[in-house]
Amino acid sequence: MKSKGTVGFAILFIITIAVVLECVGFQFHAVTNKEKPLVIKPGADKQVEVVVQDGLAKLTEDEVKAIEVERENRKLLAEYNNEEYVEEVDESLVEKDGTLYRKIKQTTITTKLPAVYYAHEFKVECALLEKGGYSVTTYLQDKSVNKSVYCSINPKIGAGVALLNSSFDSFSVVLTTEKEIDTDSITISLSNDFSLNWLRIAIIACVMGAIALLIFSKKFVKDKPEWVFAIFAFAIGSLLIWGIGTNQVSFDEYVHAKKAYDFSFGTTIETTESAMQMKGNLLPFFYNRAERKLVEAYEQENHDYSWADITYQSRFRRSEDRVYYPNSAGFFIGRKLGADFATSVALAKYGNLLMYIVVVFFAVKLANKFNMLVALIGLLPNNLFIASAISYDGVVTAFLLLATVLITNELLEPEKKITWQSTLGILFAYVIGSLTKPVYIVMALMLVFLGKKKFENRFQEVVFKLSVCVVAGLMLYAIFKPLPAAGGDYQLVGNASFLGDKRNVGTSFSGQISYILANPLTYTKVLLGSMFGMLWDYLFGGDSFIGYAYLGFKSWIWTWVCVVVAFFTALFSEKNEKRKSIGLKYILLNLLMIFGTSAIVLTSMYVSYTPVGAETISGVQGRYFIPLFLPFFSCLFQDKCKISFSKLWVNRIGFFVMTGLNLYMVTDLVLVAMNL
């Protein structure tokens, strides 16, 4: 780009094209079919036929698991309180041939329309106390137009909107509810309004902007990959934050939201009803823009501090909780600005995203010869998604990446003395990155293997290495002996017999450790089997790695695309560039460290999340190994594999693949799934 004027003109041009494409390509239905909204009240209209029947609905696996977990936790609580456990019977459930069903009511509504109608949105409103849903089938001249479309109804918003995009002259709706509903409370609305989809416009603009940047800003893409990373990460992160809204789709987002929200207050916490639902993972979910409007209106109505719940917390919080600062800052700013609930949640996510971008920006900048590899890891969809959510994992990933870059720089210069700036940078980054997941501090032990030439004398070398070991040891020690914190759960937390992840049935911290100690060979088999089994599955299609948490994962082919790009970037360099290897000693040590850290990560999940004595390790996710990517690829650095094309093209390919993948995933998993 030559000047600010050119950049401004280009941005304006791109936005104009995006808006035109939206109007012509995606609002065509509203331009060509000009039906007015139609409202039908089945209770009042005698033309509408209503039939109510009893039925049974099979419980999903998740519902069955939730019942089992609830039962197990009640047993534990009774044991802790020295009380007798009495099982509560749910009257709405029926067991048939070992399968659990829920008793339901089915209300079938059938009607004929006065004329053929093209409907974009089909909305059913009714007053429910429990969750319900409906499936709608449309007919044109008594022939079914399409397969029945299912839509859930959340009692909090009292409505469900299905997108039909078809012409019909009659329809049939089957409403499924737990209890019989008053037909007078049901309203069915059909509409086909012109409404610009700003998220789609933003995605189209981002696609065109990314292509323009990669084609026209040659010097920028070649010499400033950290800035290109920052621009792309901010754009994609913003699309995710904006598109996902208040839907809680990240890993255990409600747990993180609770801590971040509470942390944004001093000693007195004011929890509004909406914040309370966010903390309990109970906020209504939206699946399209029409539902989103209803959900956000509901959340705002219940985000009133005048009747907020007041609780207190210690002014001194656990050190580990400081990883929530970026999210908490967003909640704090939102509150001070008087922002609505959805905006406050977005600001909390922006806090995380900006922190992630700043830290990874410096990681890319400091990684001189391998900066593109670091930028690619920073743009990995899993990382960008977690950085755009309410979660501490963005802090973990960003700081561990920075620490690994700094340590790799030291390994590449074995003759150069280690500086105090580098030492503080490495150790601070590792400590912050490992605050909530202390097992990663093991990675810092690579400092212990630095050669004697890196130090002034033997004494300083020994004290330096001992200090690093003590830092790592203290952080690991805190897993088994956490410092007592303020709060009523002191006795429970301090009691090892009750430790274990309560989201899974049969876990016991002490029980699992006893099992491992009693069966070391069996456990070694389980560990190695799980480790190599996971690797095999991720690489050869048994499981998907690239994904946006609960929104979904992409085919294992994409894992390979990322692996190939990373291999290419790590292995090859242009003719004029001189690259160094970290040397055989550090390659072997790196591989050993990767194996050791992986084993510790898996073992920690076996101890805390897996039922005692299980033959597989539960709860391990591929993202836990992302901090090990850079150490692994740094083993490939050398100066022998040369390519004939320039660094500009290496950077262009890398950015094109990662940005393209992210934009494709945003379109598929965010726009299509919840914002049409």
Partner: protein
């Protein structure tokens, strides 16, 4: 601004051999200080707090007769700092009135020894019904089998205020007894006081940070060069040659 920053950096670089060890020592002092001076926090153990429509109140006056309410319990293996009970003021202001509460600890011979005597100013209670924290003055002694008694002391000369009451539900907790005593006649209640037990424990708010930072800065200190700068025209070492450099 840039000049000031550069000056600061120059100062930092010149004095690092002093600054970094000083920071390390400061962190070490913080580490030791955090261990020696812990922060005591209160734990609320919700023993019996489930409210229902069947709950009832025991008033501190039965007709004209004063009523004493007693609660017996066994503490955890640590001293009880206080209790939180639900007090209903029955619509009266109760200015100047007090709730007097005594704590007795059961001795080896079965007798009870008074260990704490306190008063709560009922006039200071904001709401008509409220759960209030009643701390014990000699809480270190309140351990084991204890009996807590509550009685009402009206304001001098005030005869119009209604007597307050304590809220009770039908839950019978193990190892606890709720009684009321009128005219020295004890009556066991078919239920229990709505009560939370307040204990305490020590926390070490900055211990985690200081103990890690001590070793982080110690490691950074070990990367500095402490060699004395070479000077022109001086003897470099004992018995050595004169350095011409």
């Amino acid at each position: 601004m840039k000049n000031c920053f550069n000056k600061f950096l120059t100062f930092l670089n010149k004095n690092l051999q002093v600054i970094l060890p000083m920071i390390t020592l400061f962190c070490l002092a913080g580490f030791i200080g955090s261990l020696v001076f812990p922060n005591e926090v209160l734990d609320t153990n919700r023993a019996n707090t489930e409210e229902s429509e069947e709950d009832f109140y025991i008033s501190f006056l039965r007709g004209e007769e004063p009523v004493e309410i007693a609660y017996e319990m066994t503490t955890e293996a640590r001293p009880l700092k206080g209790v939180q009970v639900g007090i209903h003021k029955n619509g009266s202001a109760l200015a100047g009135a007090n709730l007097i509460y005594h704590v007795y600890v059961k001795q080896g011979d079965g007798s009870y020894k008074l260990v704490s005597e306190n008063a709560y100013d009922l006039g200071s209670q904001t709401y008509d019904f409220q759960y209030v924290y009643l701390p014990f003055s000699s809480s270190d002694l309140c351990e084991g089998k204890v009996k807590i008694t509550f009685c009402y002391q009206p304001a001098a000369g005030n005869t119009t205020d209604k007597a307050p009451a304590l809220r009770v539900n039908a839950t019978l907790l193990e190892n606890t007894v709720t009684k009321y005593i009128v005219k020295k006649q004890e009556q066991i209640v078919e239920g229990g006081l709505l009560i939370s037990y307040i204990y305490s424990h020590d926390t070490y708010p900055f211990l985690y940070d200081f103990r890690i930072l001590t070793f982080v800065f110690l490691a950074a200190t070990m990367t500095l060069s402490y060699k004395k700068p070479e000077k022109k025209g001086v003897w470099r070492k004992k018995g050595g040659d004169f350095n011409e450099k």
